[in-house]
Structures are given as structure tokens and as C-alpha cells.
């Protein structure tokens, strides 16, 4: 069987910056307070939702940023403990049990804030676990990040952030499968990767 490579596709033309995907990830993965694996960025002015330019010649777009699950990840090379590793199907994983909390992965990663570090005991607003029970609980002193919702995809479900998008701007699948939605989308549309010149070959594509 051909090797899988899971990728995510985000249509920047359609993304409206609504943060539904960010909240879906936060709630489904029971992320601690202040931890976000999926962030929504305003590509415009300095502050959220503000545009670039001078009235009325303005521009504004949105994009989401989480772990890019690079094909050649800088973090996997940097991790001294083997806590960060890449699965056969392309998902870059973070093993909390092995993580030392040295944060070299954060330093090595070309992307901003896609990894979160639990400096203290993770805190939550509610005193019971929310989200998918199968998600591994977070630990103090370790790094966490988007893992393409491996527990869900291994059970045939889509990651938390994909189907919920109100603008229908998010897609996930195996790019090695010519029948997959992501393959067809990338074939038919102009697309780009973030910081492609860093050479890590990210697995998140943006339709532009």
C-alpha cells in the first residue's frame, strides 16, 4: 500500500477569521487555559481584525497557524529526547511522557507560537475533562502542539478543526491518494506553503 501523507489545506480566499476552528481544537482537545494549538492570524494591520493600508485603500486576509507537520521537521532533528517524532503517515507527534521541557523544538521551529509550553500545572476553567476523552492529558513542564487529532484520524474521523469551518475553507486528507479531496484541490488551485524557503516542506497548504 502506498505510503500516506496527511496534509491540511486552508483556503485563504474563503477564511473569514471567525476562530471556529481555534475553538473546536481548544474544546475537543481539552487545552489548558491560555494554550491554543490553532491560532487565527490577521494578515492586515497590527491589531486583530484591522486592515493594512490607508482608508479607503485597504487589504485584509485571515489565515490559521498551527503545527505545519513538516516533511523534514526541524523540531524532530533538534529534540534531544526523541519526544518529537514523525509518524509514517506524516503526522509530527509530541510524546508528553518523553518530553523534558527543554523547548529546543520551539527554538528550532521556523513558525511562531505553534507549540505551547506548560510551564506550570495545566489549568482549566472547569474541574472535569472536556473534549475527546481519548486525548492524552497535558503535563506540566512539557510542550504540546497540534497533532492533526491523531486519535480521531486513527478512528476514521476528521480532525476537530476541519468540518466545523463555517466558510468551508478547511480540508484534510492523504495527498498521496489521487481520489482525495486535498489532492484534487491542490491540483486545481493555486496554492502556497508558509516559509517554504526554510526548507522544511510543511504539510499545510494555503489556497491563494
Amino acid at each position: 500500500m502506498a505510503k500516506k501523507r496527511y496534509v491540511m489545506v486552508v483556503d485563504m480566499k474563503r477564511c473569514i477569521g471567525c476562530h471556529t476552528c481555534a475553538i473546536a481544537c481548544k474544546s475537543g482537545n481539552n487545552l489548558p487555559n491560555e494554550v491554543w494549538w490553532n491560532r487565527v492570524l490577521t494578515f492586515g494591520g497590527k491589531d486583530m481584525d484591522t486592515p493594512h493600508g490607508k482608508f479607503p485603500n485597504l487589504q485584509k486576509q485571515y489565515l490559521t497557524l498551527g503545527c505545519q507537520h513538516c516533511d523534514d521537521p526541524a523540531c524532530v532533528k533538534a529534540c534531544p529526547a526523541g519526544a518529537t517524532y514523525k509518524r509514517e503517515d506524516g503526522v509530527v507527534m509530541q510524546d508528553y511522557d518523553k518530553c523534558l521541557g527543554c523547548r529546543l523544538c520551539i527554538m528550532a521551529c521556523p513558525y511562531d507560537s505553534v507549540r505551547s509550553y506548560n510551564e506550570d500545572n495545566p489549568e482549566y476553567y472547569l474541574d472535569f475533562t472536556v473534549g475527546d476523552k481519548m486525548v492524552k492529558p497535558q503535563q506540566k513542564g512539557t510542550v504540546s502542539k497540534c497533532n492533526f487529532c491523531v486519535d480521531r484520524i486513527d478512528n476514521g474521523l476528521s480532525p476537530n478543526c476541519v468540518d466545523v469551518c463555517p466558510a468551508k475553507a478547511r480540508f484534510f486528507g492523504d495527498i498521496e491518494d489521487p481520489e482525495s479531496e486535498v489532492y484534487k484541490l491542490l491540483n486545481a488551485n493555486k496554492h502556497t506553503q508558509l516559509l517554504a524557503d526554510k526548507g522544511t516542506n510543511p504539510s499545510v497548504y494555503f489556497l491563494i
Binding site: C102, R103, I106, M107, P110, D112
Partner: protein
């Protein structure tokens, strides 16, 4: 960033200091041949080389505080094949381990020339690995040659002055010693001169990111005006203090015993402070 990484910063001063002490003093021992002062030479170089162990151990312990899970620290050597941090931990550990063996052999009076060589090598490789951790990230201000002159330079700057302190405090007065000390402190001048040139070039190169580009929006290497100016302040003040310390030390060494030992101690304090500030500046360029 600085406060969070303080234990790393301190570690990055202590390890080059330990390596520098050991390297310089073992070289001195090899070169110095005054038969009259043999006992004293052996004494002061031995004392200094003995200090290297506790200093690097202190550095290792302090660096554990940087970890979220210090009790898992043993796992940090698992990825020597790809990780510069694994390599650094390995070589730093080796440096300490080899130093221990040297020290035992020294105490027992066993010939330990090859052990000393291995220890020196481990110390150098440890600091080279440390530099490569940052160099390999490709971040602006980290991915250039200045990184090597920063970390490896500390070996020379700290090591030379520390060795002088040990020698003088140890009462070694021979002219040969003075010449060696002067020579080693002067090599620090060379390092500082190269650093100066490198920093001037780097200061010009470091520009705040384009205000409006997706790259700067998503990049972990995002630099804004404030960060760059803080970086420049730290690096400049660090360089000035280290230079002051080196100049002070040269004056002391050139004065042939006229100046009080305190001057040399003060110059050591200056270089420590200077290297510390230089390192703080370096870390400011890292992710928040």
C-alpha cells in the same frame, strides 16, 4: 525571554569558563618548564584545572532548572544522531566525566597527559555543540559566524582572565608565567576585535521585519524594532564591559606586580558581566 532562559544563560557562561580554565591551564602546564617553580606551577595549574570540574557541574545542575521535567534529563542524550542538544549534553557530561578521571589520576599521581587531551577535546566539542544548537535554527542573529565567536570566544575571554586570577592568586611570579598570561589575555583581544567587526556587520544586517508580509506574520524569527534595539544595547554594553575587563587585566599583567590583586579580580568580574550581557543579548533574538 531572558528571565525564562536565565538558567541557560548562566550555564552558557559556566561551561565555557570551566572549559577555558581547563584548556588554558593544561596548556600552561605543558609549556611552562621553569625547574625552580615546578612545584608552584603544578600547584596553580592543578588548582585551576581542579576548579573546572565543580564549575561545569554547577553549570549542569543550573541548566537542569531550565527543563520542565528535570528528572527526565537522562533522556537528553537519546538523539545524538540529529540533535545538537543531545551532543552538547553528551560532550558536557563527557567533559565532566573525563575531568573526574583526570582528577583522580592527578591525586594518585598517575601520568594523565592523554586524559587531559581528551578532556580538552570534550570541553571544546561541548561548547561547539552549544553554539550549533542556535546556529542550526537558522534564525537571524543566530545563524551567522558571530554565534561561534560568541560561545567559543567566551572560552578564551573567560578562560584567559580566570587563569590569570588563579595564577596570580596562587603566587606564581615567574616571568615565564607572566608572558603566558599576557599572551593568553591578548588572544582575548583578538576575539573581541573580531566580535566587534562581526557585530557591526550584523547590526547593519538586522532589520525589523517588513511590516506587512505573511512571512513575518508567521515566522518564529520575527524581529521588531524594540527587540533589535534591546539586542544592540545588550551586545554593545557586554562588549564594552568585556573589553574593559581585558584591558584591565592587560594593565595588571603589564605592571609587573605594582597593582593590587584586586584589580585583576575586578577585571574578572568585568568579563563575567560582559559575557553575561553578551549572552543575554544573544538570547533576546530567540522566540518569546
Amino acid at each position: 525571554m531572558i528571565r525564562k532562559e536565565m538558567s541557560l544563560i548562566i550555564n552558557s557562561i559556566l561551561v565555557p569558563l570551566a572549559a577555558g580554565l581547563f584548556i588554558f591551564l593544561s596548556v600552561f602546564r605543558a609549556l611552562l618548564s621553569d625547574p625552580v617553580d615546578v612545584h608552584s606551577i603544578r600547584y596553580f595549574t592543578g588548582a585551576g584545572m581542579a576548579l573546572a570540574g565543580p564549575v561545569v557541574l554547577l553549570g549542569i545542575i543550573i541548566s537542569l532548572f531550565h527543563l520542565g521535567n528535570p528528572f527526565r534529563a537522562y533522556r537528553s542524550v537519546k538523539k545524538i544522531d540529529t540533535s545538537w542538544l543531545s551532543r552538547e549534553v553528551f560532550f558536557t557530561g563527557s567533559f565532566f566525566g573525563l575531568w573526574l578521571l583526570y582528577f583522580i589520576m592527578e591525586l594518585k599521581g598517575i601520568e594523565n597527559f592523554y586524559m587531559i587531551c581528551l578532556t580538552v577535546l570534550a570541553g571544546l566539542l561541548s561548547v561547539v555543540s552549544m553554539a550549533n544548537i542556535y546556529h542550526s535554527t537558522g534564525k537571524p542573529g543566530w545563524s551567522g559566524f558571530n554565534t561561534y565567536f560568541g560561545f567559543l570566544g567566551s572560552i578564551i575571554i573567560l578562560g584567559s582572565v580566570a587563569s590569570s586570577v588563579i595564577a596570580v592568586y596562587g603566587g606564581s611570579e615567574s616571568g615565564e608565567v607572566r608572558v603566558l598570561l599576557m599572551f593568553s589575555v591578548s588572544s582575548a583581544v583578538f576575539v573581541l576585535a573580531v566580535r566587534f567587526i562581526q557585530q557591526v556587520v550584523l547590526f547593519k544586517k538586522l532589520k525589523p521585519d517588513e511590516e506587512w508580509s505573511i512571512d513575518s506574520l508567521v515566522s518564529g524569527s520575527s524581529l521588531n524594532k524594540e527587540t533589535i534595539s534591546r539586542y544592540k544595547t545588550y551586545i554593545s554594553s557586554g562588549w564594552i564591559l568585556s573589553s574593559l575587563g581585558i584591558v584591565c587585566a592587560i594593565f595588571f599583567l603589564a605592571s609587573s606586580g605594582v597593582m593590587h590583586f584586586v584589580v585583576l579580580a575586578v577585571s574578572f568580574a568585568f568579563v563575567v558581566a560582559g559575557e553575561f550581557l553578551e549572552r543575554c543579548g544573544f538570547y533576546i533574538l530567540g522566540p518569546e
